[in-house]
Amino acid sequence: MRRFTDRLKETPSQTAGPYVHIGTTPGFIGIGGVYPADHGAVMVNESARGERITITGSIFDGAGAPLRDALLEIWQADANGLFNSRSERRGTADPGFSGWGRQPVDLETGIYRFETIKPGRVPYPDGRLQAPHVMFWIVARGINIGLHTRMYFGDEEAANAEDPVLARIEHKMRLPTLVAAADVSTYTFDIHLQGEKETVFFDI
């Protein structure tokens, strides 16, 4: 059996810097002709099952100003709670839904927007069901290592109340930082890097 006492060290992180768009979303800053489209810009095709939703919001720094150079990625299950992944062993995910999206915030307003579907519930390692949620990963100038968080749905109160991850949050007044406000099919999820409303970030 292999022994893991001599592990290699993970490559250390560095900030994505202000020009992350060049490598990740060149079309967004008007550089065409190399890639056919920005990778991750479209998550859903016509055949995708489930409720179409929009997730939108801003990322605020410690002075309350929106970041205008950040990049967000999301990763989530399909409507049946399956991941469109090589290592999904529970079934076959919806081929009409990628589960992964990437969007920059607007260079002027700082607002981001994802068009996706509402995810199904996914089991926690002990078998309990998690509430529907979307994983977020945020990089930007001034962020030395990408920040992981989760968005839960404001109209899923019952499921949120029994979610095993939310239950781990000791300071209950911080729970609302992970819950997006629902307005029909649009969910608003603002992220606060610091301050009274600092979002809960995870070491996963």
Binding site: P12, Q14, T15, T24, V34, N144, Q194
Partner: protein, 246 residues
């Protein structure tokens, strides 16, 4: 002995002392952009263990050749021609195959092709400054580019970035997601750079420093630099607690 499929196990925790801290006042922008509260540790769930799937059909023939992928037909980017190559491995030195590596950089003069970059150095009409590739079955990757120039940036009054290539790697699990920067052996700006110095351990900085690789240099054409990338590895799941019946 290993019955558990390795692609479905949870990851070793990140060594957060090896990575830069969130708050690094020498890099001033981090002051208002660093979370102040402790990260909440979570056991890996299926979402962190899994990651998005990208196929070879998304990669164009010249996506990993920055010398020509933006250039007019028959022309190439200006600058020192280099090849950057290596392996993407996990912490157990197991190759990470078919994973997406994306790179971006300024041109030979240190200027980015970006609406927000106003540095005086000229734009190279034949250089876009970005590329991508998927690792092969052995975790190997290679791209061809020009050596990026150093550039000044607003932090202290006279800070200059070392020559660097930004890179983004996926790995099969979302918890492995990583963005970092590649530096070049021998660059005196490495030791002076507040962004490099957000990393405390000199060995960790060395891990981001590509080494001149004369054995793979193409005579009369392009020098090679060797750079390996390590992503988080998975724990063995052999003797973990499992629910009855699983």
């Amino acid at each position: 002995m290993r019955n558990a499929p390795t692609e479905t196990g949870p990851f070793w925790p990140r060594d957060l002392d090896w990575h830069p801290k969130a708050l690094t006042p020498g890099y001033k922008t981090s002051v208002l952009r660093s979370p102040q509260k402790a990260l909440l540790s979570l056991p890996n769930t299926l979402g962190e263990i899994n990651g998005p799937l990208f196929g070879h059909n998304m990669i164009g023939e010249f996506d990993n050749d920055l010398l020509i992928n933006f250039a007019r037909p028959g022309e190439t980017a200006i600058g020192e021609r280099i090849i950057v190559h290596g392996y993407i491995l996990d912490e157990h030195a197991k190759p990470v195959s078919n994973t997406l590596l994306e790179v971006w950089q300024p041109n030979a003069g240190g200027r980015y092709r970006h609406v927000k970059d106003g540095y005086a150095a000229a734009i190279d009409p034949n250089f876009g400054g970005f590329g991508r590739t998927l690792t092969d079955d052995d975790g190997y990757f290679a791209f061809r580019t020009i050596k990026p120039g150093p550039y000044p940036w607003p932090n202290n009054q006279n800070d200059w970035r070392p020559s660097h290539i930004h890179f983004s790697v996926f790995g099969p699990g979302f918890a492995q997601r990583l963005i970092s920067q590649l530096y070049f052996e021998g660059d005196p700006h490495i030791a002076l750079c507040p962004i490099v110095n957000t990393i405390k351990d000199p060995q960790a900085i060395d891990q981001l420093t590509a080494k001149l690789d004369m054995d793979n240099t193409i005579p009369m054409d392009a020098r090679a630099y060797r750079f390996d990338i390590v992503l988080r590895g998975r724990r063995s799941t052999l003797f973990e607690n499992r629910m009855e019946g699983n």
